[in-house]
Symmetry: C2
Subunit: 325 residues, 2 copies
C-alpha cells in the first residue's frame, strides 16, 4: 500500500510471536509490560480457518488450553515382567487407569468442578451455526477420514469442537516401543495431555481441578504428578464490534460471498492476552482451509488464499481508514 499510494490509511504495528506453539510466555510478559509501542485500537490475527473453500470467515471465539505432562513413577528401576508381573505396579497401566477415570468411553469428562463454569453458546449463535454449509457425513468421511465421530452424547459437532472442553492424550513415553518384544515393566512413564477450555472456564482453577482428579484416580503402587507446560484462557470477540464488522465487509468484498462467523476449537492465547492487558478486540481473519492438514503431515496453505488474504487485509485497512477520515 505504501508503495502504491505513498501512505497507509491507518497506523499499523507488527507484533511478531515466535513461541506460539510452545506457550508464548515471553510475549505475554511483554504485552503486560505496558510498553507504549503496544498502543492500538484493535489487533488483527490471521491464524484461523475459513469454514469452507470460498466462504469468508471470521472467528469470534477460541478455546483456551492447558497442556502438560502426567508423570507416573512405579518401582525405582525397570522390572522384568516374568519375575515381577502380577505384583509390580505398571506406570503405563496406571496412566491408562487415570485417563479412563478422567474421561469415559462416551467422551464425558469426569473431573469434579471442571464443567461448572462452562457457558453454552447463546441461541443466536447456535442459530447462525445451523446455517453453515455442513454435512456431518462428509466431515467424517472426507475431512477427518474416521470410521465414526466420537464425543459427548447430546452435543452437536460444533458444540463438541468449539463450545465444549476436551481431555486429550497426545503421547505416552516410557517402556519399550522399538521393533520386536521386550518384557519390561517400566519404572516410569509420562503422558502428554491437553485440556481445551471454553468460556467461562479459568485456567488456574482448571489446573487445580485436573491435578486433584489425577490424584484421586491414581492407583496404588505408583505416584503421579501433574506438570503444566502452558495454559491460556478461552476468549471471545463481540461480532458487533466495528473492527470485526469492517473485517467481515472486507472479506465479503474480496471473496464475493457473505462472511460467516464461527468459533475455533483451537487456542490462540494472545487474543485473550490482548483483551486482558490492552483492552482491545482481536479480529481473527483467517485464510486456512479445512483440508490444510493443520499440525499434521503434508500441511499446506492454498496459495490463492494467500493472495486473497493480502487483498482482504489491504481492503480492511482502507475501510478502517475511510471510516476514520
Amino acid at each position: 500500500m505504501i508503495r502504491a499510494t505513498g501512505s497507509l490509511p491507518v497506523n499499523v504495528r507488527f507484533l511478531i510471536e515466535g513461541e506460539e506453539e510452545s506457550g508464548g510466555e515471553h510475549i505475554e510478559a511483554f504485552v503486560a509490560s505496558g510498553d507504549p509501542r503496544l498502543r492500538a485500537d484493535a489487533a488483527i490475527i490471521c491464524d484461523t480457518e475459513m469454514f469452507a473453500p470460498e466462504l469468508p470467515t471470521i472467528c469470534v471465539g477460541l478455546r483456551g488450553i492447558i497442556y502438560g505432562e502426567l508423570h507416573v513413577q512405579g518401582a525405582a528401576q525397570d522390572l522384568h515382567s516374568g519375575v515381577y508381573g502380577g505384583a509390580a505396579p505398571n506406570p503405563i497401566m496406571a496412566i491408562a487407569e487415570i485417563l479412563t477415570a478422567l474421561k469415559d468411553r462416551d467422551g464425558r469428562i469426569h473431573i469434579p468442578g471442571f464443567l461448572d463454569r462452562v457457558t453454552p453458546p447463546d441461541a443466536r449463535e447456535v442459530e447462525a451455526w445451523s446455517s453453515l454449509p455442513f454435512n456431518e457425513e462428509d466431515y467424517r468421511e472426507k475431512e477427518m477420514k474416521v470410521p465414526a465421530l466420537t464425543g459427548e452424547p447430546g452435543f452437536s459437532v460444533f458444540d463438541r469442537t468449539w463450545a465444549r472442553p476436551t481431555c486429550e492424550v497426545h503421547g505416552i513415553r516410557g517402556g519399550f516401543t522399538g521393533e520386536g518384544a521386550k518384557t519390561v515393566i517400566p519404572a516410569r512413564a509420562v503422558a502428554k495431555l491437553s485440556f481445551r477450555l471454553v468460556p467461562d472456564q479459568r485456567p488456574d482453577e482448571a489446573v487445580a481441578q485436573i491435578a486433584s482428579a489425577i490424584a484421586d484416580a491414581t492407583p496404588k503402587g505408583v505416584t503421579a504428578e501433574w506438570k503444566t507446560l502452558h495454559a491460556g484462557a478461552p476468549s471471545s470477540v463481540d461480532p458487533n464490534n466495528v473492527y470485526v464488522e469492517k473485517a467481515a465487509d472486507a472479506m465479503t468484498e474480496i471473496f464475493g460471498n457473505k462472511t460467516v462467523y464461527i468459533r475455533s476449537g483451537g487456542s490462540i492465547p494472545i487474543a485473550g492476552v490482548f483483551k486482558d492487558h490492552l483492552g482491545i478486540p482481536s479480529v481473527m481473519m483467517g485464510f486456512g482451509l479445512p483440508d490444510d492438514n493443520l499440525h499434521s503431515p503434508n500441511e499446506k496453505l492454498f496459495l490463492p488464499n494467500f493472495h486473497r488474504g493480502i487483498d482482504a487485509v489491504v481492503r480492511y485497512l482502507q475501510l478502517l481508514g475511510s471510516d476514520a477520515a
Copy 2:
C-alpha cells in the same frame, strides 16, 4: 572335566539358542525336526534364579507367554486437537480403554474364558513355598522398591508371580513424546502387551480369547488389531524326576544349603518344546540372584555364583555318571 580326567562321565550335547528373547521360532523348528543329534535323556538349562543368596534353587515351573502388539487406527492422518478435539477418535485413548477393560484397577483380568484352564498349585507345593525365606515388606521395599505391591486380591505374591497369568503393557508408540508440547491426535498407536500363561492354559486358545476381548473392548471411531509376535506354553517339571533330584543333590553339596524348589514367573519356551517334541524333562539349575536387575539397567551376575555354578554342573555330571556306572 575332560582336561582334568580325560573324559566326561556322561555324554553332553550343547544346543545354543540365540533368539530366546525374540521368540525362538527357529530353535522350535529345529527341535521338532527329529534330528538325531537331539537325542538326550534330559536337558539342563541355567537361566533361572536362586530364591535367595546362598540358597540353591531348582525351578520346576515356568509361566508361558503371549507377546504381541495391539495396533489401533483412528483417522487416516494425524489431526489437530484444537480443530477436531471433541469429535475425533484418539487411538491412544482407545488403547487406554481397551487395557482397562482387559484388566481392572485391582489386577483382575477380564478376558472371557482366559482363566478357565488355570489350575491352582497343589497343597504340597503351596506348603513348600510357605517355608521359603520370604519377607513381603523387604521384597516390596528393598527388592522391587515400590510404594505398594499390586495384583489380584486374595492371592499370595507367589501365586501372583508364579501361578497366575498376567496382562501387562510394555510401551505405547504413537503421537508426540518429545520435549515440550504438540497438540496432535495421532492417526494410529501401537501398544506392546504380554500375557504370562500358567498351567494348563494353551497359547493358541488364549490368543483367540485375547483377540476377542480386544474386539469387544474397542471403542467406536477406531479399528483395533492384535498381532502375536511370539507365544510359548507354560511348563512344569516333576520334582521327583531322577534328573531333578541329582541336580538338587549337586547344588546342595556345592552351596552347603539344602536345595529348594520354586517356580518362575518368567518364560523359557524351550523347556516346553523339549517336553513336547523330545519327551525329556528340563532341569532348571539357576544361579541368578533376586537383585540382578534382570532385563533392566545395571543388570549383573554375581561372580561367585558363576564359579559355583560351574562346580555345581560338574558335580551334577559326576553324580549322573556314577549312577549310570
